[in-house]
């Protein structure tokens, strides 16, 4: 029995990080048309909140029920196993357009997406990568929906604890962000999957904003009426989603060993970085991009030498100084046009790199130079 108990504990330690090791790849969606799902996502969230409130109002006529208790019920309503209810709906519903669009394409995507080249012992290998959806003109992985509600709630608990211990609003927010950054640097990020996702932290932070807004002391989203608890105004993702949710815009920080496998894949996208579609998308992002609280904190960690500089992992840095269109011609591999990436065309930039031309191109294209700062691990 002792041996079995040890085995169980070891397995738990091994597999639990896998729970949060879900990865996503927005580069794969570059140049592929994708319908915006803002309206239907809003409708779904409002429907689920309304259901949670209807249950609450039906079951608990307690006039002393606090806004915090109602908020907790809303959070619990979205909760499921590992993946939140909203994310599961988004990856299955016919009302939400996704990339990859079909199950068959998704199974192929798993063999070519940004993080596909993984060590067999990487816990992330056990989990399916998230799909890309577009909401409010921002493309992001469906995992961000779980981050928004689940990690947003964890952030809120940390924030609340900070406030109760006398911290100011800003200090308590910072405490929550630090908690998220710590987990991304350790058990849920760099130390396990080798990826520190800044976009995940942005979604967490926006989740915190939503949680605090629900019971804001001045203008709460939740109000009590004669009919019970209601939303003062419908939930709108427009208030929370920013370009920083897109991991092709908000590049992740990658561990040294993981980077060796990821960089060659990323280089494959240099060929389409300057296409009109991708450039237009990045210009739209740039016009909406603001320095967020999370970014400020990460920059402090970078300045303190605790994190590598995320700019070293950006597509611009990877492609800097390269003849982008010539990159593939030099490798005797076919160049891609944006038309190759339209929906229904199964050829993607990685398909030929990692299947048809993999042995020939891979060895030549891997740059011996790593990013400037990779000494964070």
């Amino acid at each position: 029995m002792d041996r079995t108990a040890t085995l169980v504990v070891c397995l738990a330690v091994l597999v639990v990080p896998a729970l949060q090791a879900i990865e996503t790849d927005q580069y794969y969606s570059w140049g592929r048309p994708l319908e915006d799902s803002l309206e239907v996502m809003n409708a779904k969230v409002n429907l689920e909140i309304d259901r949670a409130l209807a249950q609450t109002n039906q079951q608990r006529r307690d006039p002393g029920m606090t806004c915090s208790a109602v908020r907790k019920r809303i959070v619990n309503h979205f909760r499921l196993l590992l993946i939140h209810r909203l994310e599961l709906w988004a990856v299955n519903s016919a009302l939400v357009e996704r990339i990859p669009a079909t199950a068959e394409e998704e199974l192929r995507y798993r063999k070519v997406f940004l993080y596909h080249d993984r060590h067999p012992l990487d816990p992330a290998v056990l989990m399916a990568p998230s799909l890309t959806i577009q909401v409010d003109d921002v493309r992001f992985g469906t995992d961000k929906l779980t981050h928004f509600f689940s990690e947003g709630w964890m952030y809120y608990k940390s924030y609340r604890k900070g406030r109760r211990s006398g911290l100011s609003h800003e200090e308590a927010e910072l405490k929550a962000i630090d908690m998220g950054a710590f987990t991304e640097r350790t058990i849920l990020g760099l130390a396990t999957s080798g990826v520190f996702s800044r976009a995940d932290l942005e979604a967490n932070y926006q989740g915190l904003r939503f949680m605090t807004a629900l019971c804001d002391p001045v203008q709460p989203l939740l109000i009590r009426t004669d009919e019970g608890w209601q939303l003062r105004e419908p939930f709108d993702f427009h208030d929370y989603i920013t370009p920083e949710w897109d991991e092709s815009w908000q590049s992740s920080i990658i561990g040294r060993f993981r980077w060796k496998r990821i960089r060659p894949v990323l280089e494959g996208y240099c060929a389409i970085l300057d296409t009109p579609e991708v450039r237009a998308q990045r210009q739209r992002y740039a016009s909406r991009d603001r320095v967020t609280a999370t970014e400020r904190r990460i920059q402090e960690l970078v300045d303190e030498g605790k994190l590598a500089d995320p700019r070293d992992y950006s597509i611009e840095q990877v492609c800097a100084g390269r003849d982008r269109q010539g990159l593939f011609r030099n490798d005797s591999a076919p160049s891609l046009s944006i038309d190759d990436l339209k929906v229904g065309n199964t050829v993607g930039p990685l398909d030929f790199l990692y299947h048809r031309h993999r042995p020939a191109s891979r060895g030549r294209r891997v740059s011996p130079r790593g990013p400037g700062r990779l000494d964070h691990q």
Binding site: L81, V91, A94, A103
Partner: protein, 208 residues
């Protein structure tokens, strides 16, 4: 949501589904969307669009049907030693969900599991998040899941029990994370010549 490429229209397939849909629509019409707190960027047309989209969501949910999903498990366990389980669970899902990629599955589960030192029959309830991938019938990956079931076990051969051939009955709990399955059970022997009345079973394996 201008284009509707690749989308399907949904209609409830049963009277029960239609009633369910009607109730949900009534719930929907109650508070939030009818509130006067329109956002500064919102318009009445936006609100109508939201109601229409909500109706489509409810229709999709209402068009659900029962399905049978196959379960597979390979495990090393006590007292069965090495065993392979085959089973199925009955779930209700929207018609458009094919579960080739991640799905939420809840429902009654049944399993038969022959092993080197025993065969186990079980029936219970399971809640899983998994996918069939390219399989038509069986779940190929269970990302997370748990279940509880009643178990009937018949041991034989060189089982570690004394005597080796016994019939036991009891309960077992299962937990699967990232396809790694852990099981723990408590069984009572029904055999007259048993050495112990109760045994604790446990196992580690793949699947659910």
């Amino acid at each position: 949501m201008a284009a509707t490429r690749g989308r399907r229209s949904f209609r409830p397939r049963s009277a029960g589904g239609a009633i369910h849909l009607a109730v949900l629509i009534l719930i929907l019409w109650r508070p939030a969307f009818a509130s006067d707190g329109q956002k500064s960027t919102g318009t009445t047309r936006d609100s109508e669009r939201q109601v229409e989209l909500t109706r489509q969501i409810l229709e999709e949910e209402g068009d659900s049907r029962r399905r049978t999903i196959g379960l597979i498990r390979l495990r090393a366990s006590y007292p069965q030693k090495v065993s392979a389980g085959f089973g199925w669970m009955r779930v209700r899902l929207p018609a458009s969900y094919d579960c080739r990629t991640v799905c939420d599955l809840q429902g009654p589960a049944f399993q038969i599991e022959p092993g080197l030192a025993g065969v186990q029959l079980s029936a219970g309830y399971a809640h899983l998040i998994g996918e069939k991938r390219r399989s038509r019938h069986f779940l190929k990956a269970v990302y997370v899941g748990y279940g509880g079931k009643a178990v009937l076990l018949r041991t034989y051969g060189d089982s570690p029990l004394e005597p080796s051939g016994q019939t036991l009955i009891g309960a077992e709990g299962d937990l699967t994370v990232a396809s790694v399955n852990l099981s723990l059970g408590v069984l009572r022997s029904l055999s007259d010549d048993r050495e112990r009345d109760w045994i604790v079973t446990f196992g580690v394996g793949w699947g659910f």
